[in-house]
Amino acid sequence: MTEPLAHPQSPGLLDLYDVALPQVYGYLSARCGSTSLAEDLTAETFLAAVDALRRERVPELSVAWLIGVARHKLVDHWRRREREERSLRAVETAAAPEAVDEWDVHLDAHLAHRTLERLGDHHRSALVLRYLDGLPVREVAACLGRTEGATEVLLVRARRAFRDLYETGEEG
């Protein structure tokens, strides 16, 4: 019988757990609108962190790093769901989007979140990363696995889709 060897880094994550958990959960629950989904993704985030620690692929264990993992988990979830639910996609408007229109409104926070929830997963991912998380386009592109050019186009479409839904309000 041998005692299981304690991983040299293992106390770190548990020490950080009480501080990091509300941060990670807070980040996720504000973006996914469902307690059970936020819990599942929170658990996935921490378990992925355990795994990354084992593989010694963690530069510096911190709340910020965990939130980065959570962000990937969220995007992965939306991507997976989009693949499952929308692999047959309605035909997108073939024409390339026009240049960004000026849109001078003050968004109502509640309606804006309802609108985000109604958007397609690919559009929602782009807007959440760019505006809620405040990432520069380069980092949004890295997160989504797209080129910066493709990400710019996606953001224009996503803004357009958001605006259309927002302006039709709660109906439909």
Binding site: L13, P22, R55, R57, A64, D76, L88, Y131
Partner: protein
């Protein structure tokens, strides 16, 4: 000039800490402790990550705090569902499918029965009503926390009574205020079978003014069922006349919205033509599972079907008729193709397979319907009938 106002900037949402449920926090901590103590799974560490492709790989330069490992190289961790910790989940008889909730083609209100003696009740509904149990969750106290039944395409949910949280069954209430209206292929047969299994007959099956034959019974758990079979198509005027004789005033309402019509609603009916229409209709009914709800034959030759309406139990209508070469509305037999949506394509497949029907496309999981199934067969005169669980969803 000032920079244009960008309304999207107002969406910025810094991370606001929020405590999850205590129970969740505790379970996740336990899970992490266990994971951290456990030996790394064999092969996990041995599997080398692709060099240089990760933002955290030292070879790619200085690290930023919010850089993350390339998660595509991390195995997906399968989490057990929360319910599994307290309950035993048994998938039922939906062959080939592990997903419990079924896809509804339209919005539905599903009856949720509370019964005293849930496990007995599941057995009883299976025997007496020919229900298929598709899902079951049993608590550690032996009570059924949730179960789902399918009766000829009608979906029901069921649980034991939980008086402590206000879920009462007819046994505890000494009666029920809601009747369940169930369409069945043969009301007399079903009624007799249920009564033989212990149901109490209230009204024996009898023909109704509106074109159905009804029987009412109360099952051993106190639920009141109205079993119904359509026996004739009655238009509203005829029904109004008949009802007036009994002192009732019939008023049409608005058309219902959405969904696949089974008759009486706007929608699309598919057409199939046969040289031997009676044989084609027998095939559609006996093998495929359509229900014949109306038939008009040529008075001079009963084998010539002028019109028929075959109702798919889950929604939709097919018209089958005798092919008349000079009828400008008809295509020759074999030229038609229809797609039928069903929650249980495996059941239809089993009927087709055991009847030796010609298979055009064996069961497969369509790329647009992950977890679903579709297949196609040729009917006796060559028309192609496709069946599948895919019920739309392009948004």
């Amino acid at each position: 000039m000032s920079a244009p106002h960008d309304p999207f900037e107002s969406l910025a949402q810094p991370v606001v800490p929020r405590a999850p449920r205590l129970e969740f926090a505790r379970q996740l901590r336990d899970r992490l402790e266990a994971e951290l103590e456990a030996e790394p799974a064999t092969g996990l560490d041995a599997e080398p990550g692709p060099a240089g492709d990760s933002p955290t790989d030292p070879s790619t330069g200085p690290q930023r705090l919010d850089d993350v490992p390339d998660l595509s190289t991390i195995p997906v961790v399968q989490l057990s569902r929360r319910t599994a910790m307290t309950a035993d989940i048994t998938p039922g008889a939906t062959a080939g499918s592990t997903a419990p909730p079924s896809v509804a083609a339209r919005a539905v209100a599903t009856p949720y029965l509370a019964v005293r003696g849930g496990l007995d009740a599941l057995r009883w509904y299976t025997e007496a009503f020919g229900a298929t149990e598709t899902f079951r969750v049993v608590g550690d106290d032996g009570r059924v926390g949730h179960a789902e039944l399918d009766i000829g395409g009608a979906r029901l949910m069921l649980s034991d009574e939980y008086p402590e949280i206000g879920v009462h069954s007819p046994a505890g209430l000494d009666g029920t205020s809601v009747s369940l209206h169930l369409e069945v292929p043969d009301v007399d047969e079903r009624f007799a079978r249920a009564v033989a299994a212990g149901a109490t007959a209230v009204n024996a099956p009898a023909d109704q003014d509106h074109g159905s034959r009804h029987g009412t019974l109360v099952d051993p758990y106190g639920h009141r069922w109205m079993l119904s079979t359509r026996i004739e198509q009655v238009d509203l005027g005829t029904y109004a006349q008949r009802a007036a004789a009994s002192g009732f005033d019939v008023q049409p309402g608005d058309a219902p919205s959405g969904g696949a019509p089974a008759g009486g609603e706007p929608g699309i009916w598919a057409g199939l033509s046969y040289r031997d229409a009676p044989a084609g209709i027998r095939f559609l009914v006996d093998v495929v599972g359509f229900e014949l709800q109306a038939l008009a034959a040529d008075p001079d030759d009963p084998d010539v079907v002028v019109h028929s309406e075959l109702r798919w139990p889950e929604g939709g209508v097919v018209q089958a008729g005798t092919y008349v070469p000079d009828n400008e509305f008809m295509q020759a037999p074999g030229a038609q193709a229809i797609y039928v949506i069903t929650r249980d394509p495996w059941a239809v497949w089993e009927r087709c397979r055991s009847a030796g029907v010609e298979v055009v496309r064996p069961p497969e999981e369509p790329h647009y319907d992950p977890g679903g199934m579709g297949f196609s067969v040729r009917d006796p005169e060559g028309n192609i009938l496709s069946f599948g669980s895919y019920a739309g969803g392009v948004s």
